[in-house]
C-alpha cells in the first residue's frame, strides 16, 4: 500500500464512508493526506444542491464544508427550510418550519399562536391554544432529496404545560405525488405515551429535547419528481385539543 500513489488511495477511500475516511486519517501520514483531500470529500458532498444554497464562507476545505453542513443546518427558502447533511452518508436532510406548513385555523389567533422559542431552529413555532379540527400538512418537492435513499418524515413538536386531547392516537399520512386522495390510508400514531392503547408509531424524544413522531416513509429514486404530502390530522373526535407546540416537519434518511 505504501507504493500506491495518493490519488489511488483517495479513490479507494471515496468508495468507503465518511466515518471510515475519518478513521483513516489516523492511520498513517500518507493515508491522512489522502483522507483529507478534497477529492474524497467532494465525493461525499451532494452532487446537486438546492437552488438558493450558498456555501458558508471561510471554510478552507471540502471536508470542512461537509462537517459544517452536518452540524450547522443552513436556512433556505426565506428561512423556512433548513438544509443539512446526514453524517454517515452525506445524504440531504431538510426540516420545514411550522410557518411553511399548512395548519388549518393557523391564522386565527383564537386557536393557534405563533411564538418564538430560543431552542427552535426557526423564528417562529406554532403553539396550539385550542382547536377541534387539527390538520397539519406539509409539502416538499422530492427532487430536493438524495437519490436511492429511504427517507422518513417526522413531525417535530413539544408540549406546553397543559396539553389536552392527545391521549388517543391521531392520523398520520405520507403520500407521493399523483396519489388519489381516496386511496390514502392513514396510519395511527401516538403523540403521547398511553400505555396499553398504543398502536403504530410512537413519539420519541430527540437529542434537541423536542419530540418527534414518524408520519411515513418513502424511497427516492433517481429522476423522481413531484411533491410529497405529509400530514397529521385529528378531525373525527368531537372534543378540543390543546397545548401542542409544532416546530416543523423533518425529513431525513432512515439509518439501518
Amino acid at each position: 500500500m505504501n507504493n500506491l500513489p495518493e490519488d489511488c488511495i483517495a479513490k479507494i477511500l471515496s468508495l468507503t464512508s465518511p466515518r471510515d475516511v475519518c478513521r483513516s486519517s489516523a492511520v498513517s501520514r500518507c493515508f491522512r493526506s489522502a483522507a483529507d483531500s478534497d477529492h474524497v470529500w467532494n465525493h461525499f458532498l451532494p452532487s446537486e444542491f438546492p437552488e438558493d444554497f450558498r456555501a458558508p464562507e471561510g471554510l478552507p476545505t471540502k471536508k470542512h464544508l461537509f462537517f459544517s453542513l452536518v452540524h450547522n443546518p443552513l436556512l433556505l427558502h426565506d428561512s423556512q427550510l433548513s438544509f443539512s447533511l446526514e453524517r454517515s452518508t452525506g445524504n440531504k436532510c431538510y426540516m420545514m418550519a411550522a410557518r411553511a406548513l399548512n395548519i388549518t385555523w393557523g391564522h386565527d389567533q383564537r386557536y393557534w399562536q405563533w411564538i418564538s422559542l430560543p431552542d427552535a431552529r426557526f423564528k417562529e413555532v406554532a403553539a396550539l391554544k385550542m382547536v377541534w379540527w387539527l390538520d397539519i400538512t406539509g409539502k416538499i418537492n422530492i427532487s430536493l432529496l438524495s437519490d436511492d435513499t429511504l427517507y422518513a418524515a417526522y413531525l417535530v413538536f413539544k408540549w406546553n404545560l397543559d396539553p389536552y386531547g392527545f391521549r388517543q392516537p391521531v392520523e398520520a399520512s405520507l403520500v407521493l405525488a399523483g396519489t388519489e386522495h381516496d386511496d390514502v390510508q392513514p396510519s395511527m400514531v401516538s403523540l403521547m405515551h398511553n400505555p396499553g392503547s398504543e398502536q403504530g408509531q410512537r413519539a420519541e424524544l430527540r437529542s434537541d429535547d423536542w419530540y418527534e413522531v414518524q408520519l411515513g416513509q418513502f424511497f427516492k429514486r433517481r429522476g423522481d419528481m413531484g411533491e410529497i404530502e405529509m400530514s397529521l390530522k385529528e378531525t373525527k373526535r368531537p372534543f378540543e385539543k390543546k397545548g401542542l407546540i409544532v416546530h416543523g416537519i423533518e425529513i431525513r434518511p432512515v439509518l439501518p
Binding site: 500500500m1 505504501n2 507504493n3 500506491l4 500513489p5 489511488c8 479513490k11 479507494i12 477511500l13 468508495l15 468507503t16 464512508s17 471510515d20 475519518c22 478513521r23 483513516s24 486519517s25 489516523a26 492511520v27 498513517s28 501520514r29 500518507c30 493515508f31 491522512r32 462537517f67 459544517s68 452540524h71 450547522n72 411564538i115 422559542l117 430560543p118 431552542d119 413539544k158 408540549w159 406546553n160 404545560l161 397543559d162 396539553p163 424524544l205 429535547d209 419530540y211
Partner: protein
C-alpha cells in the same frame, strides 16, 4: 511498407504481437488485441510506433512487474472478447479479485499506471471493502503501514466536533462554571456580610410561587446564579414575602425572574470577547470534570425547559391559594422537559 505495417494490415493471416518489457527486465510477446486493451500501451503503439519488435519493446511503467503483468494480461484477455455477457464478466471479476491484500495493492498500482480504468475500479472497491469498518490499528496491520503520526495528530480528527453549536455552548457553560467554582473557593476564605443565596432554581421558583413560605437560607442546593442576581431576588422576595396578595407578586416575580433568565441566557449565547473555545484547560481533575459535565448538561437542559415554561406561565394568570398549598400544576417546574 515496413514489417509492422504489414502486420497491422493483415490480421486474418498473421496474428499480430506486441513486444513488451516489464520493469524487472523480462521481455514478452502479447497478442495485439489483448495488449491494446490497456490505454497506455495503446498510446505507445499509436503515437510512438513502439512494440513492433524485440528491440523496440514497449517499456512498461516501473510499477508493473511480471507477476502483475501476467495477471493483467489474463484480465485483458478475458474481457477484450466482445461476445461475453455481463453476467459472465461479473462472475469472472469476482473470482479474479480473490487474492491476498498485498497482491491486490500491487495490482491496483500496476493497473493504475497502465490506465486500465475498469481494473482499477474493481481493485479499488475490493480494497474499500477491506478498509470499511476497521480501526486505524487494524488498517495499519493489514497493509503494513508505518505508524508515523504523532499522538497529537491522531487526536485531530476529534476536533470536527468543535463545530457543533451545542458543544460550544457547553464549553462556555464549563468556563462559566469554573469561574463560579473559583469564586466559591474565594468566598470560603473571606467573611461574607450579606448572605449568599444558595438556593437552587427549584427552590427559588417554588418560593416565588408561594409554595414554600420559608424565607431563611435553604439547604445548599446547586448554586446556579451569580451572587449579584441572588441578592436582587432575595431583596425583592424579602419585601413581599409577607404580602398576602400572592397573585400579584407571582406575576411580578415571574417577570423579574424572566429578566434574570434573559440576561443569563444572553451571556451564554453572545460570544464573549476573549472567551475562546481553546480556553478549556484541563486543570480540573477528571472526577471533578465528570461531575461538572453532568451538572453543566443538566444546567443547559434546565435553562431551556425553564425558559419555555416561564413563557407558558406568562400567558396564563398564576393561581395561588393563600394558605400556600399550591396546586399540583406548579410541581412540573424544574424537572427535565418531556415528563408532562
Amino acid at each position: 511498407m515496413s514489417e509492422s505495417d504489414l502486420d497491422i494490415m493483415e490480421p486474418e493471416t498473421m496474428k499480430s504481437y506486441i513486444w513488451l518489457q516489464t520493469a524487472d527486465g523480462s521481455v514478452q510477446q502479447v497478442e495485439q488485441e489483448v495488449a491494446m486493451f490497456c490505454p497506455m500501451i495503446c498510446q505507445e503503439i499509436i503515437h510512438k510506433g513502439a512494440g513492433s519488435s524485440k528491440n523496440h519493446a514497449i517499456s512498461l511503467p516501473q510499477r508493473v512487474n511480471s507477476a502483475m503483468f501476467s495477471l493483467i494480461l489474463d484480465y485483458c484477455r478475458f474481457h477484450q472478447v466482445p461476445g461475453r455477457s455481463n453476467k459472465e464478466r461479473k462472475v469472472y471479476d469476482e473470482k479474479f479479485m480473490r487474492m491476498e491484500t498485498k497482491r491486490l495493492c500491487e495490482l491496483t498500482s500496476a493497473a493504475d499506471s497502465l490506465q486500465l480504468k475498469p481494473l482499477v475500479d474493481l481493485t479499488s472497491s475490493a480494497l474499500a471493502r477491506i478498509i470499511e469498518g476497521k480501526t486505524p490499528e487494524e488498517i495499519r496491520d493489514i497493509f503494513h503501514l508505518p505508524d508515523d503520526l504523532t499522538e497529537e495528530e491522531k487526536l485531530e480528527p476529534l476536533k470536527n466536533t468543535m463545530d457543533d453549536p451545542r458543544i460550544r455552548l457547553l464549553n462556555r457553560l464549563y468556563a462559566k462554571k469554573r469561574k463560579e467554582l473559583k469564586e466559591r473557593e474565594r468566598l470560603k476564605n473571606v467573611e461574607v456580610e450579606g448572605h449568599v443565596d444558595e438556593r437552587s432554581v427549584d427552590d427559588l421558583l417554588s418560593f416565588i410561587n408561594g409554595t414554600d413560605p420559608k424565607v431563611a437560607k435553604m439547604s445548599k442546593g446547586k448554586k446556579k446564579y451569580k451572587k449579584k442576581k441572588n441578592q436582587k431576588i432575595i431583596s425583592s422576595n424579602d419585601k413581599e414575602s409577607h404580602d398576602l396578595h400572592f397573585k400579584q407578586q407571582g406575576v411580578e416575580e415571574t417577570g423579574s425572574r424572566m429578566r434574570d433568565l434573559l440576561s443569563l441566557e444572553d451571556e451564554i449565547f453572545t460570544p464573549k470577547a476573549g472567551c475562546e473555545d481553546g480556553d478549556i484547560d484541563d486543570e480540573i481533575d477528571p472526577a471533578m470534570k465528570e461531575m461538572l459535565d453532568r451538572e453543566v448538561e443538566d444546567f443547559a437542559r434546565r435553562l431551556n425547559s425553564n425558559w419555555a415554561q416561564s413563557l407558558g406561565q406568562e400567558r396564563r394568570p398564576v393561581h395561588f391559594s393563600i394558605n400556600g398549598n399550591n396546586g399540583t400544576t406548579r410541581r412540573h417546574i424544574g424537572q427535565s422537559s418531556g415528563h408532562n
